[in-house]
Point group: C2
Chain length 496, copies 2
């Protein structure tokens, strides 16, 4: 193929233009991260032959780079939830997720996910994924112990308890340190490799889909060893190629509010190529403007006793929220604010220098609030009013403005410390994308009329899945979504 340099993922090849089929299979899968691995396992277990194409030299994707907490619950609770004394129910989990994403949610996906979450737990343990029957009770971004269950979202933070009973649903793998992602992908990779009807190709770049004259997806073109391979996939193609946070041009075009100096987190293959391939085949994209973003100001959790203020010295959020919700509000809701500060005291500052991921610098200190206010160049009296009022109420266990839980309320005492949490002035603001192909819970990709494109499936961050905004995100939702809907796509394609 001489014109290969002109190939764009968003330009499908017509089947009539395929010179010959190099590979014939039931199902072709693009991407060997969490979604692709689970799709391959389920498709193979349903008897289909699978060819799995991965751009990198090894499996992993962004799942391997993550902590791989998995968000699960409902139906009375997972065995871990039950062992730790929690009883979860499906409607409660569903109500929580609805509160997280509001009108942005896909009700069908939420319901399907909640109803089948326990079954997903069982499937994962069947793959050898270890979960300890224990709970980590700290407020943590991730578990560094081998404990399993932890609150990974806003379940306990206002206003979510008004919508659903707080239950921890983050399931950390039984391994010390932040090593859940590598372990999960090691286990899933072994499961894939153990299946004889799956063939894995590494260092293989999917170039474009192949569609017949009725727009049915019948295959894919893959470049392996600098040569195009035409792959016929009689049951379909499953795109599990990640999101687009590594594609600056796409971020600027589709999620411009996040094109502002954030740090993309994900694997280098998160270039949106799967999304573009789907678009080229007629797939509709939704939620493209939304990203996960975070201000990871804990650990140390003691900073949760502090307050976040804008350049008016006003608070803007209950500081016991999940770091993603805080990041979203600091970045978008407060986008007109030139500064964001964390105001704390010596006790709250605690182990900050040793433990923090944040990278925020000390912007000022003061023996009085007035002194700190002056040092931060905040309007006269602004921080003084905010902090005096906060302290007066905190002493009584109240936060009448933002309803921070009384577990995190205590007066902030002199001497005071301010951390500069302003984007661009030091702190780490990671992000990745939450928009992608519109799809059914079965992974079937939809066109603008929400009709299925025959033969095309997708899962993971190539789709718009469970998590739709950082304001409602919880750790474990992406790996949960990718592994769960990856499985569903594998099953559905195999049954086609």
């Amino acid at each position: 193929m001489n014109n290969s340099d002109k190939t764009s993922p968003s330009k499908p090849l017509r089947a009539s233009a395929v010179p010959h089929w190099d590979i014939e299979t039931d199902i072709a899968i693009v991407g060997f991260g969490g979604a692709g691995a689970c799709a391959a396992i389920e498709a193979a277990d349903a008897g289909a032959t699978v060819q799995l194409f991965e751009l990198a030299s090894a499996s992993g994707g962004s799942t391997a780079l993550s902590s791989a907490e998995i968000y699960m619950g409902g139906n009375g609770g997972t065995p871990v939830q039950q062992a730790c004394g929690y009883s979860d129910d499906t409607e409660n989990m569903l109500n929580y997720l609805r509160a997280c994403f509001g009108n942005q949610a896909d009700e069908d996906k939420l319901r399907y996910y909640c109803e089948n979450s326990i079954a997903h737990y069982q499937w994962l343990t069947g793959m050898g994924v270890p979960f300890k029957m224990s709970e980590l009770k700290e407020r943590a971004i991730m578990a560094l112990t081998d404990d399993c269950l932890l609150y990974t979202g806003n379940e306990k933070a206002y206003p979510f308890p008004e919508h659903a009973k707080p239950i921890p649903r983050g399931h950390n793998l039984e391994i010390e340190g932040d090593n859940g992602g590598p372990l999960l992908m090691k286990l899933l990779t072994e499961a894939v490799e153990a299946r004889e009807n799956v063939t894995v190709h590494y260092e293989s770049r999917a170039l474009t889909l192949v569609q017949d004259d009725n727009d049915v997806v019948v295959g894919i073109v893959v470049r392996i060893n600098q040569k195009e391979h035409y792959v016929k996939a009689s049951k379909g193609v499953i795109l599990c190629a990640g999101g687009f946070c590594m594609n600056e041009e796409m971020v600027r075009k589709y999620a411009p509010q996040f094109d502002c100096g954030l740090t993309p987190i994900g694997n280098p293959g998160d270039t949106g190529s799967g999304i573009l391939m789907g678009m080229g085949a007629g797939g509709a994209t939704i939620n493209m403007h939304e990203c996960f973003v975070s201000l990871p100001y804990y650990p140390p959790s003691s900073l949760t006793y502090g307050i976040l203020v804008n350049d008016k010295g006003q608070r803007f959020i209950n500081e016991d929220c999940y770091h993603g919700r805080v990041g979203y509000n600091a970045l978008l809701q407060q986008r007109n604010s030139k500064r964001i500060y964390m105001i704390t005291d010596v006790e709250g500052y605690g182990d900050y220098e040793r433990m923090s991921y944040l990278g925020a610098q000390v912007a000022g200190t003061g023996d009085t609030i007035a002194e700190l206010e002056g040092e931060l160049e905040l309007p006269s009296d602004s921080l003084q009013q905010t902090l005096e009022s906060y302290n007066r109420n905190a002493a009584e266990g109240n936060d009448p403005l933002y309803h921070k839980s009384d577990a995190w309320l205590r007066p902030i005492e002199p001497p005071f410390v301010a951390l500069d949490c302003t984007l661009g002035r030091g702190p780490f603001y990671p992000f990745f994308t939450l928009g992608g192909l519109d799809s059914l819970p079965t992974g079937e990709v939809l066109n603008a009329d929400r009709e299925v494109i025959p033969g095309l499936y997708a899962a993971g961050r190539t789709t718009a899945g469970i998590p739709r905004t950082a304001a409602g995100y919880a750790s474990g939702m992406s790996v949960g979504d990718a592994t769960f809907f990856g499985r569903m796509a594998g099953k559905a394609a195999a049954a086609r």
Copy 2:
């Protein structure tokens, strides 16, 4: 065509499936609003034959329903700006628009628009559009006099003067009352009808585009008198079919944050059909999640002396901003607030009952702030702190928190009045969509790779144009964009 009921705008018809051509023309235009009219005039003046299809029984579109202020300036200033003593320059106008839309802006479109804005003024006056050499100095949502020039955006409001010298750029037509839209469309309609090479079809529904095997757009299928007409357009099709605010399903899918009980403003044909047709032909959509939204709390302008507060009793914006920016912040930035109040005094309340479009009810009154605070059930001391601090600074002509211009600063005096500006509790929150097809300044529609789709053009709210968010919107930007880029599309198609 028996399967016409299955027609979807997002499914183009293959040229090979066209049974015969009922109409042959150089250019087919969908929609006879401001964009379509201007496209038809320019195309005809360049010598092309034009067939113009309008769903309604008359021309007008949303332009006729608007005030039809037109946002123009740059290049030393329009004759009206100059007559009123303003000198505008292109870079200043461009800097203002960049500040309005940030990363969401299309730099090419902004620059082209600013560089050619004076020429657009001349073209409009050549069509007989009357502009009086006078300025309306009130803070107004629209001019009810026949005066021309007024500030229609955030030009004078913080932080915009930090980015560009404030210049009024809204040009109101010379007609009493809110009658600019009907007058503009009457004049443009007469200009269209005067051109012998334009044929207008009313009550004609564009069903779908026709594409050849190379994906070139070669025509369109239109239903007239319950019969499909196949229209061959050898130079191209121009989609000027408005936005999608009247399509609840599309709003929920693409702009879910605006699917919350706002009032769509536009014509009933704003169903997104033009956008869907473009998508079906391979066009990429951008900015689909953004809408214009407004909290039209003036007139009376005296309410600008008041303060807007959230359910924490905190201010959140300089109240001298344009009503769209205020609406955006009240709705999105303050989405976690259960209440939004306008706090004013008797003098500020003034003529509210007689003049207002807002429809907000009085939520409380008080001889003291504490009394009002209690009546509004705001946290104890919250409104008191806010108002005491505001008044103390306002007396000195300062607003250290939000930088409201000193022209609108004075202490708010007892007795106090609060208007309930909460969405769903009375006030009018109008909206319309700001997302659509990605296109070049020439109106050429782009695919996901930003390559031109040959034969396909679009203008007006079918595209993502100059205005990209209500936070930076100014009245006159949509009619300015629609008429200007409508012209460019007409010219470009005629030259193809």
